[in-house]
């Protein structure tokens, strides 16, 4: 039997999900995701050719309202939980690599 999902695919998905995984985790997930996907494919027994997809179980519709100005979260409250900030901004490591210019 061919595995439902390969190690390489698991690594690719981890990258998409921005999730670094250890070798052991990749190994473990390859097996586990494979057996879950195999089980899930039981859905293929059903003919759904003429069935509409149902994303939401109740009818949802746009909610309109007047655009009123109300209080929103202040800077201090918004930054309160930040792992790093400089008082006014969220702080992150440098994104642009400028080493090639030096």
């Amino acid at each position: 039997m061919v595995d439902k999902i390969s190690r390489v695919e698991v690594e690719k998905v981890a990258k998409l999900a921005r999730l670094q995984l250890s070798d052991e985790e990749i190994e473990e997930f390859t097996g586990q995701l494979g057996s879950i996907l195999e089980y899930v494919e039981k859905m293929n027994e059903l003919d759904t050719e003429n069935v509409e997809p149902l994303a939401h179980c109740l009818p949802v519709h746009n909610v309109f309202r007047d655009d009123e100005v109300k209080d929103s979260l202040g800077t201090e409250a918004a930054l309160k939980n930040a792992p790093d900030s400089d008082g006014e901004f969220f702080k992150v490591p440098k994104i642009l690599d400028d080493s090639s210019h030096s």
Binding site: A17, L21, L33, I36
Partner: protein, 490 residues
Amino acid sequence: MEHLSAAELRDRIKAREISSFEAAKTVFARIEKYEPKIGAYISIFEETALAKAKEVDKKIASGKSVGKLAGVPVAIKDNMCTIFGTTTCASKILENFHAPYNATVVQKLLDADAVIIGKTNLDEFAMGSSTENSGLKKTVNPWDTGRVPGGSSGGSAAAVAARLCFGALGSDTGGSIRQPAGFCSVVGLKPTYGRVSRYGLVAFGSSLDQIGPLTKTVADAALFMNVISGKDLADSTSVDESIAPVADYLENLNQPVENLKIGIVPHLNAGADEQVLGAINDSINFYKSTGAEIIELEMPHLDYAIAAYYVIATAEASSNLARYDGVHYGYRTARPKDYIEVYSKSRQEAFGAEVKRRIMLGTYTLSAGYYDAYYLKALKVRNLIRGNFTKAFEKCDCVIMPVSPTTAFKIGEKMADPLQMYLADIYTIAVNLAGIPGISIPCGFDSDNMPIGLQILCPAFEEAKLLRIARMFESETNWHKVYPNIINHE
């Protein structure tokens, strides 16, 4: 005092026979004694709770009007935002997160003069069926400390069962209120999707999540629903009361439903434990003795509910949990070598195995080339499942089945094989896919003295009828009055 229902306690507090302060003190004394053994709570707010209790007592003493839960000590699952304390979701990634606002349900409890005593443990981000996936602590079943309390609202169920609060809120994405209620012998209600605001509930599967109560009695579930139900402008999926009015769930609670027609689904019971099925059968026979008509149903697509659910729920989860990026709030890895590692290493270090597994599964089924085969297929199966319920409710008022195929399993028993854990959700999952309300009520015990839950399902927005049907059973049985022995065996 600890065995009083929330409604009874509220009445005595209002009559000034018991003070709210005294009630809260009793709860905290019990927590001090039993919590080290049970592990139901992630955080406890003794100081603020006692202050609130005093405030309610003062209000009553001065003749002011008080809310529907006046002075009643309650607990909240730790995936609902509170401006006091932390909101952790039992995850290391949110271990130190202080929410800047109260969830709508939390505010409604406070407005009803409830005394919030603490926040309860859960499977990390509500992903699990045993509370073993908590990244912060271990909760055990008060009926047997070697067994799981169920999940993901395991802390709330254990706290109510062990009398460490007088009622609690949980959330239910695939059975997370009903299953732990069944495992711990308390009442657990998952309302119709849209009946209760999700504003401030940390999102897992947004089209499936719903908040509801875990209580000692059906009347308490009705009382909590009277407090938390209704449209909320902050949650656009909460349903407008002009479309589906909120009932007074207590009003006709004790009035039996006449000419009751009950649907049962025998083909779902193939893998269930004999003793569980025996207790469910006895319960069905009880309803029969009241004159109810029993109708055997074919609901063929329910056999595919677990498959559809674990595609849809994980797809929504992978998208919802993308927000944990180590930038705005939550855990950040200590020495990221670049900005990518701020995301990927923070997530690696702070998410637990089940959360990672679900993010991986969801990302995979949503990714290019697999979307149609998995996600779209699952949405179509979801429609078929809802259709099964629509058809069933043309023939009957409610559908009755077990909550779980077995009673509470041993700690560690299902941790090695995630698929086996998922398969145990067979009876609860379809309800979330269809968006309908369901309740779990105590209906017996197996030979190991572990509780068995009876599940009753009704059409969307028929919580009032659902509660009445549950009350018919409760008022003629004593299962809900039995509490775990371990509490008295010191």
